[in-house]
Symmetry: C2
Subunit: 156 residues, 2 copies
DNA sequence: CAAAATTAGATAGTGTACAATTTAATAGAG
DNA sequence: CTCTATTAAATTGTACACTATCTAATTTTG
């Protein structure tokens, strides 16, 4: 019953793995967003969807999913919750009734003003300067691009 | 019904935000793990829990949660699933019956050998050299430490 | 020692995530 | 024009993740 050790040399240390750092940091930041997004009454993924719609309204659910890099099966209920909150409304296309366009309501557009301060507030909350953020952003995008390219060459 | 634009200057661009890069990269990597973890039959968070137990067996649920930086209410069902898979068993402490110790089964210990190759395989899958990984790891840990410190000073 | 506070784990409810399946509509091939 | 393949969305099922709440056990305090 005593604590035996399968990995005495510590060949698999959770705290030394980049993936775990990414995974746990991402969640830590999402927790920081909770406070900042309270005034808007939305979650972090919902905030991301709004950000995309503020830039271009009337997107299909599929386009929102692609922008957020989430599955369409995740985007559908996410958009439905935004609709229930009164921030968007969904409108099925008349030309192609499979398509559902998502439009911001006036309330949804009105949230933009309150959201403008969030990036800076979050920068403070996580202690990252703009310069450092830009560098990290570039490195992460390199990783994502590598994964995407690799997937492409596997499929093709 | 036409696409009006609330954010014409692009003051909130999802693709320029570090947080989104972290969030989406983390998920992209978790997707890469699916293939690598298939032989073990576990998910990424379950693999993290195993990694912690291989280093030190007989941990409390709370200690596993702390190591994974997840909530205890998330750790309970995660450990229960590992138990259902036959990789761990739970044993309530006799001295303090609130505590539940989690022990690896022989099968759970046996997975270690198959797991040893995973970090390198994942390094290849995401195209990150060890040197770059170490640098990124340090930067992410700095962010986490900043958030934790800030939380401490708020509470205290 | 008894009441209050704390701690450990479990449970309920909401919201992602994603694979797999279903349904509906469109486009293409014969 | 019909059959087939493809596409878009919804649905189903499993697994996190976290807040809030609950129960039980222990520790602290008066």
């Amino acid at each position: 019953m005593d604590a035996s050790v399968t990995d005495p040399e510590g060949r698999l240390r959770i705290e030394e793995q980049l993936c775990f750092a990414l995974y746990s940091t991402s969640r830590a930041i999402t927790r920081e967003y909770v406070t900042l997004l309270e005034p808007l009454g939305v979650t972090y993924p919902q905030y991301l969807a709004l950000m995309v719609l503020w830039r271009r309204d009337g997107l299909m659910v599929q386009e929102i999913a692609a922008s957020l890099e989430i599955d369409q099966a995740t985007a559908t209920p996410l958009v439905q919750r935004l609709e229930k909150l009164g921030y968007v409304h969904r409108q099925r296309s008349r030309e192609d009734e499979r398509k559902v366009f998502v439009f911001l309501t006036e309330r949804g557009k009105g949230l933009f003003a309150s959201a403008l301060g969030i990036p800076e507030a979050l920068g403070c909350a996580i202690g990252v300067t703009e310069e450092k953020a830009a560098r990290l952003l570039a490195e992460l995008n390199t990783i994502k691009a590598f994964i995407a390219e690799r997937k492409q060459s596997e499929d093709g």
